[in-house]
Symmetry: C2
Subunit: 464 residues, 2 copies
């Protein structure tokens, strides 16, 4: 009799445990809609973004603005009741934009002197007060540059390959054009060029210049600017008629050496499997023009919202939910690299990592990435949640590149999820003075937080 | 031998015909991407919208602004090479907003006199120069109104039920709240009320008032206004403390009797089955505040774009593609009713009708509707195109209500498609001064034209 009771108990327990793992789609949809209702009616994330944009503002790693963002988000993670909040210090190269950013055509026979709409690219060299003048030579790509070879010596190289507006996903168009900005000035410098002008990375046809990092590595930095599309086309048209065209560039930006920046971390400890960490994050730094609203203030407050939502709704997660706001994504990813190094050193087990770094627009889906040994199984599991996500308007879940910061965790058997919103407007704002709070739509931002929270909720409940 | 040849010919012909109907997904995706490239690089639709918004402007059926829109779109349909362009006249009731639209609380003990942010609802009665003053009584719904019954006599009824922000699709929230505006003032008038104030139909929390039609039928019209959300909440808060609160309403709007408005039609004749018509359209009229940019300038230019695209790309359709810009959707749908009546009279065969009247945002899908006898079969056919549409980002194709104007064709065995873009921003603008050209995003608008053109292309090629 006794044995029988134990057997029955064991069977009952097993059944209960199995039931806990059995997916009841309708029930989960009902629950997640409740969760969305809570977000749409009670989330403070939009207000957090307002504070971050208006009180810290544009915030390159190492800047006082960045330090203000660290102080604010640490304080808020504490206020919303994270079990633990801490920071990770990391050394970052610090570069500061100055008040002078000018470029002008100085010798056009058709137009005389013409001011151009430009901004310094990150890590550009500065100039003295009268600037640097040189002849301009236009290329569309690196092949054209290599053909010119030493002919660019003493000149300004003008990279003018447009983003392909016909790509339905604007990130694909960005990926196909951005090497002009990241690597163009370095290669020009290697060939003896004294400056670089890069067509802005945008599909909106206007004259707003866009910044972003340019990487010189050990190469001598040269003055390098992003130019608005209208002025890029003007310059290109003039060059066809007047190949002797000269441009003067004046930049008061400066390399400031090393500074310390902090990655901000807050977590809710798991009740059953505290050692299994589900990371949700974005990067806290941003470009210094604009306010880093879409890139990546949106990702920051959406990640904080996931924690706050679990607290607001009284959900005690089985696993640890950790919000990570990475330092220095924009110019070197030192924060993410340090975070991954420490995680490995401490033997932490990140079962999943979700990053939002593609803007605060209406959610569309996720891109999943993982080591080959676990990729198939984890993707198959997420496929089972497909109709749940569809009911929330999140329809596009596919394998693919995830996001920059969390990619550092890939070799630690972490399943990576890059959150994907609608991409149509993103590059209107990206790295420009237009990336401000007013251009983030409250509902769209909150729905993104909802999509991320839903994924965290399902991973926490069912594993990955 | 002879018979054998005939047999072979018949078999060959059948095989050829069958082949023409066989769906090659990859090929269609490749072709439709070409079509999208053409749209994203060459479509003038955004410029058309600019003209319509800035030169015709807000355009209620029967107004001079509406006549300007008829002239412009007729001219453009002709210019882009439609085989035939014509108009259909229809009598519409004409109401005109005046320069005076004011409401103020006049006797608050807490705040004294307080101006409220309001606009007249369409078909509201006007007042004399000093306006009409009465005590205000708040209700959330018709049940509360009926309970009050004759107690509202001589008073202003204040409908204050919010749109439910937690609905993921904002059109569902609109559908659940809009009867306050369409039928609220009439029922209030029936019960003897002398005015109505209606909480604006929006999920954006600000103080911008939204208009829209209110229908009195044979009931005596009373002054009726839409009120901004912040002032609606202020009024509601004050009423809790001061139930004797009185509001003065001043409106210089006027009923102007009957006018003639025109539905604009342009078509490309089909080469093989000219009698089978695929209709693509929107409504040309709009509310008079704002510029009718999203509602429904977007649908107008997207529909024109479908025709222009076929011409630009040299696609000769097998069936007739007809662009219909309906008169008077906003206040009575007389244009659509007349169009359907004439189609029946002439024995026209509309095999499908696609309407865009949900804004110019990023495409999401279509809602399909048809008579029961053909619904299942047509839906099954469209399901086969699902992965083609997914590759274009158009993922949400389901049975459901289509769109107002084309619904008039339902009993003529027409398969109806309501085009659906992302809904998150739509009611920020809808029927308010914010519905202007600047709030329509070029790429999003063009992608909507692409989704509609893709559907027209597939229906033309494969039937429905």
């Amino acid at each position: 009799m006794k044995i029988n009771w134990i057997l029955i108990s064991v069977l009952f327990l097993s059944a209960t445990l199995m039931q806990a793992q059995t997916l009841n789609e309708d029930e989960e949809i009902r629950y997640l809609k409740k969760l969305y209702t809570n977000i749409l009616t009670q989330s403070p994330a939009h207000d957090w973004l307002h504070y971050l944009c208006k009180n810290a503002g544009g915030r390159l790693g190492g800047s006082p603005e960045y330090a203000a963002a660290v102080a604010y988000t640490s304080h808020m993670l504490d206020t919303i009741g994270a079990d633990k909040v801490w920071t990770q210090a990391v050394e970052v190269p610090y570069w500061r934009r100055g008040p002078v950013e000018k470029a002008r055509i100085i010798n056009s026979k058709h137009l005389g002197a013409v001011d151009l709409s430009v901004v310094a690219l990150g890590f550009s060299e500065g100039t003295d007060a009268l600037g640097m003048s040189a002849q301009v030579v236009e290329v569309k790509n690196f092949e054209e540059l290599e053909e010119l070879g030493s002919k660019v010596k003493g000149k300004i190289v003008f990279y003018n390959r447009p983003m392909e507006v016909e790509r339905l996903n604007t990130f694909h168009a960005y990926g196909a054009a951005v090497n002009q900005r990241t690597a163009g000035p370095r290669r020009a410098s290697e060939l003896g060029a004294v400056g670089a002008i890069v067509r802005s990375m945008t599909v909106k046809y206007d004259n707003v210049p866009h910044s972003g990092v340019t990487v010189f590595k050990d190469q001598k930095p040269i003055p390098a600017v992003g130019i608005g599309l209208k002025d890029a086309d003007l310059l290109s048209s003039l060059l066809k008629k007047e190949p002797q065209l000269r441009v003067n560039i004046q930049l008061s930006c400066r390399h400031m050496g090393k500074r310390t920046a902090h990655t901000v971390i807050g977590e809710i400890k798991g009740s059953e499997k505290p050692d299994e960490i589900i990371l949700v994050g974005g990067h806290l730094d941003s470009w210094d023009i604009g306010e880093g609203a879409h890139d990546d203030g949106a990702g920051v407050v959406q990640s904080m919202e996931v924690l706050h939502l679990f607290k607001r709704m009284g959900i005690r997660p089985k696993r640890t939910i950790r919000c990570v706001l990475f330092a220095n994504e924009e110019n070197g990813m030192y924060g993410a690299t340090e975070y991954a190094k420490l995680a490995k050193k401490k033997g932490e087990n990140h079962i999943a990592a979700i990053e939002s770094d593609a803007g605060g627009h209406t959610p569309v889906g996720f891109r999943m990435d993982a080591e080959a040994s676990i990729a198939k199984e984890s993707y198959a599991r997420v496929q089972k949640w497909r109709s749940i996500f569809s009911s929330l308007g999140v329809w596009d879940i596919q394998p693919g590149g995830s996001a920059a910061d969390i990619s550092r965790l890939k070799d630690q058997k972490t399943v990576l999820f890059g959150y994907r919103p609608d991409s149509q407007r993103y590059f209107d704002y990206h790295h420009s003075e237009r990336d401000v709070f007013e251009n983030v739509h409250r509902r769209e931002l909150l729905l993104g937080g909802g999509a991320m929270a839903a994924l965290v909720y399902l991973i926490d409940k069912y594993g990955i």
